[in-house]
Subunit: 159 residues, 2 copies
DNA sequence: ATCAGGATGTTATAACATTGCTTTTAGCGT
DNA sequence: ACGCTAAAAGCAATGTTATAACATCCTGAT
């Protein structure tokens, strides 16, 4: 098990760096890292919790000073998901940025019910076992959704 | 890895038996297995795929010959989830019946993108590893969402 | 200049879920 | 059987999330 990113202590510097990495990656891939996409990804990084599409829309409108339609945000989110720059948390209908969009990994998300802090862990051993299960079933896996809901250490200590 | 149930080859007999088990369990727990709840669970068993709440509503209306409101169905679904008689597939906003509502298990769901067949596998080793990860983080896990999307063996063979 | 493809704008609607309140029903002691 | 109580279900309205269908704009290649 290797913790690869936590939403909680995301510094300004990390956000800047993540945006730079994203920009570089998009250039390398020949896709456009437009202002909308960049600002949306920034919004996800700045938020210290998974954001719903409409919440991201509101924040984006607030920081950008213009109105947006849901479709616009969903399309930009789709782009970020396709490029691996963000991940959808299915059990929350929400989105978080990904810290390592360049290489594939077996992400397990720990999502706190109370403070919503979301910790991404890379557990390749779990990935291996699931791969075995899939092989045994003759199932071709396209996407993994591994999300654990509960209470984070910080919130546990609060009680 | 131990496959514990598959949605695909669910026979009439299995449905009958599952309903009987559910009824027995509810009696033992002192909760009411009402006609609505029984019919809803039956609807989930008869369907060979995860059903959305509104789809379940439509089928229930069709087979029961009466109109229902979303609230009614959602409440009944909540009951089935609480009792472990059904499970929500987060990545589909849909629900499937659970074959072993009596004992806790580490369910991994393989969901086919094409035919939507949903296979539940119990992988206790994965459960153990995730528990380790959680412990390392000091995270108290309340619920696991383990869903793998892809193509089932049957659909792979079709191509 | 024309064209093609990608990105975005616009409008409408589908799909999923909850809230608040009322009425009915089941279970229980009398 | 009767009346009480709590659970269950009915009902209307609304909130939330997601997509479809079509129009426009921009940029770079021919
Ligand atoms: Zn990641
Ligand atoms: Zn927390
Ligand atoms: Zn199960
Ligand atoms: Zn299939």
């Amino acid at each position: 098990m290797k913790p690869v990113s936590s939403m909680s202590p995301v510094t300004h510097g990390q956000t800047i760096q993540a945006l730079a990495v994203a920009a570089r990656l998009c250039v390398a891939r020949g896709v456009q890292f437009t202002e909308l996409r960049r600002r949306l990804l920034e919004t996800l990084w700045v938020a210290h919790e998974p954001l719903g599409a409409y919440e991201a829309l509101r924040r984006l409108e607030g920081s950008w000073g213009r109105t947006l339609k849901p479709t616009t945000v969903y399309r930009a989110l789709d782009f970020l998901l396709e490029q691996g720059l963000a991940v959808r948390i299915e059990s929350r209908n929400a989105y978080v940025p990904c810290a390592h969009p360049d290489q594939p990994h077996t992400s397990v998300f720990f999502v706190c019910d109370q403070c919503r802090v979301t910790i991404e862990v890379d557990d390749s051993e779990v990935g291996r076992l699931l791969k075995c299960d899939a092989t045994a079933l003759g199932f071709d896996v396209r996407r993994r959704v591994l999300e654990l809901q509960g209470t984070c250490a910080h919130c546990l200590a609060m009680r």
